[in-house]
């Protein structure tokens, strides 16, 4: 098992052109005292779906906000480490710049502007592109999500699933290279979760958008992901290809709900393992 994970890691680090996002040893502190991320390392390959899994409070959402530099509003700050996007340092670029460069975050709870209409939400997705041909592009989004076209009222009155689709459609309007998704399955029925995940897959396959997917629903996420990282207590404890992780006994037990008797994380070799970066 260990050897397998190592091989996967080697793969990732070999060809740096393939890596669209690389988070190196990032530490995030809130209110100057609360340490939330303790040296996060992950790499997302271009054209792949990378999943970031973990339980509540592991720091998944914080990681995404650190990447998109949205922490200032919550009094958080990256105090150590670096974030590289397309081979360039992006640790201290403002959120507007990052969106213009092609990183787009679909926030947890969808981040819909509820007192605006569906069309207005979609238009704002293209805010960073002043030369956008909005009308045609919105039609294109509607061809992906025909259900949205019929909704003329405020976005706040949409159902949860429709709001999630609107959030994804809005992300598409920004024409990003990399979409960060924060728990797209949150609060959705199993059938809708399936639909949303198949849309994410389509974005990846048809439009070639790289995706970093944060999820609690590990089973679904591993099904569509190429690589995955498992996070606990502000750092990565396990990584590998999605296939490897799905077959991993520990992952099965803790995240996929299978396995026999309960064990503690501490006794697991793979969870103790930590990569060295210097």
């Amino acid at each position: 098992m260990l050897a397998q994970t190592d091989a996967a890691t080697m793969d990732v680090s070999e060809n740096s052109d393939d890596i669209i996002l690389s988070v190196n040893n990032v530490e995030v502190v809130f209110n100057e005292v609360i340490l939330v991320l303790r040296g996060l390392n992950l790499k997302a390959k271009r054209g792949n779906i990378t999943a970031l899994l973990g339980t509540n409070g592991a720091g998944k959402s914080t990681s995404l906000k650190a990447i998109t530099n949205l922490l200032a509003m919550e009094d958080g700050e990256v105090t150590r480490g670096s974030i590289e996007y397309e081979g360039e340092d992006a640790t201290h670029l403002g959120p507007e710049t990052l969106v213009r460069k092609g990183i787009f975050l679909v926030m947890e709870g969808r981040g819909i502007l509820q007192d605006m209409t569906v069309t207005e939400n979609l238009r704002l997705g293209a805010y960073s592109r002043s030369n956008a041909n909005i009308k045609a592009e919105i039609e294109q989004i509607y061809s992906y999500f025909p259900r949205l076209k019929e909704r003329t009222g405020l976005a706040g009155y949409l159902s949860g699933g429709e709001q999630q689709m609107l959030a994804i459609g809005r992300a598409m309007m920004a024409k990003p290279k990399l979409i960060l998704m924060d728990e797209p399955s949150m609060g959705l029925s199993p059938l809708l979760v399936k639909e949303v995940f198949s849309i994410i897959q389509r974005l990846n396959k048809e439009l070639g958008i790289s995706i970093l997917l944060v999820e609690q629903n590990a089973k679904m996420a591993l099904k569509i992901a190429d690589e995955a990282y498992i996070m606990e207590n502000g750092k990565i404890v396990l990584d590998g290809t999605a296939k490897e992780l799905m077959e991993n006994e520990d992952v099965k037990e803790f995240y996929l709900g299978g396995g026999g008797e309960r064990r503690s994380f501490k006794n697991l070799k793979s969870f103790k393992r930590r990569k060295r970066w210097l």
Binding site: L70, L105, L113, E120, L124, Y127, A174
Partner: protein, 298 residues
Amino acid sequence: MNSELLLQLLLNGIIVGMLYGVVAMCFVLIYKSTQVVNFAQGEFLVLGGWVCLSLVIQMGLPFFLAFLFTLVFMAIFGIVVQQIILRPLIGEPIISVIMVTIGLSIFMQSLMNWVFGNDAKRFPDIFGSLSVISIGGLNVETAYVMSLVLSLVIMAVFYFFFRFTRHGLAMRATAFNQQIAQSLGISVKQTFAMAWAISALVSGVAGVVMGIVSAVSNSLAFVGIKVFPAVIVGGLDSIVGAVVGGLIIGVLENLAEFIDGEYLHIGNLYTIAPFYVLIIILMIKPYGLFGTKDIERI
């Protein structure tokens, strides 16, 4: 009962009320997008009036040029105030921010007293604004009609701006949730600056209009205080509410004048009536007619 006087006063009320509505919109714009209660809104208005007037009288510029220059000046002024005075206060308690805008209001009052003098000054009669036209048997000065038209134009522009333009939508998004706005690539700082610029600019226009209708004087800053009841009646964060509130206050003022003049003979009911309404509204509808209800648990 003198019904002709009543009608005349009601018409006055509507015209003045629209102007209140415009200033109230400026106030709400700043409050909604930056959560700052701007007590210096009235002074913004007077400043606009003074700048335009001095350009016309002292520099001898033609009115339209002076007016354009005033617009530019006010927009820059709004941005400068935001950058220098209010940006450092982002995240500070609301009471400090309020103290600062009250301070700004006093500072501007004194400065304008010093620079432009204490007397009321009239615009030269450019449009024949003192001539009277008759609407349905009521005599109305042209200046009033122009002010009504201009108020309506400003409101239409506001509506168009917030409904259809990229920056207008961005401002609404920022008002709704700053983090979401940022995640869409909207610069919150830029949006704040824009809110102040637009607010100062439109207040300046209102100042010029008031200057033409009556005269420019430092006491015009009372409009900034009148706008309060208007804004509270409408609900602090509703642009439509601001317009409706402005109209209500304008009409009410004039009704109070009518009742006072005809029956009560107290005198000065005109100025205080809006504030009684303010108190009553706060008692029965604390969030105004159109405001968002915030439930705060302590």
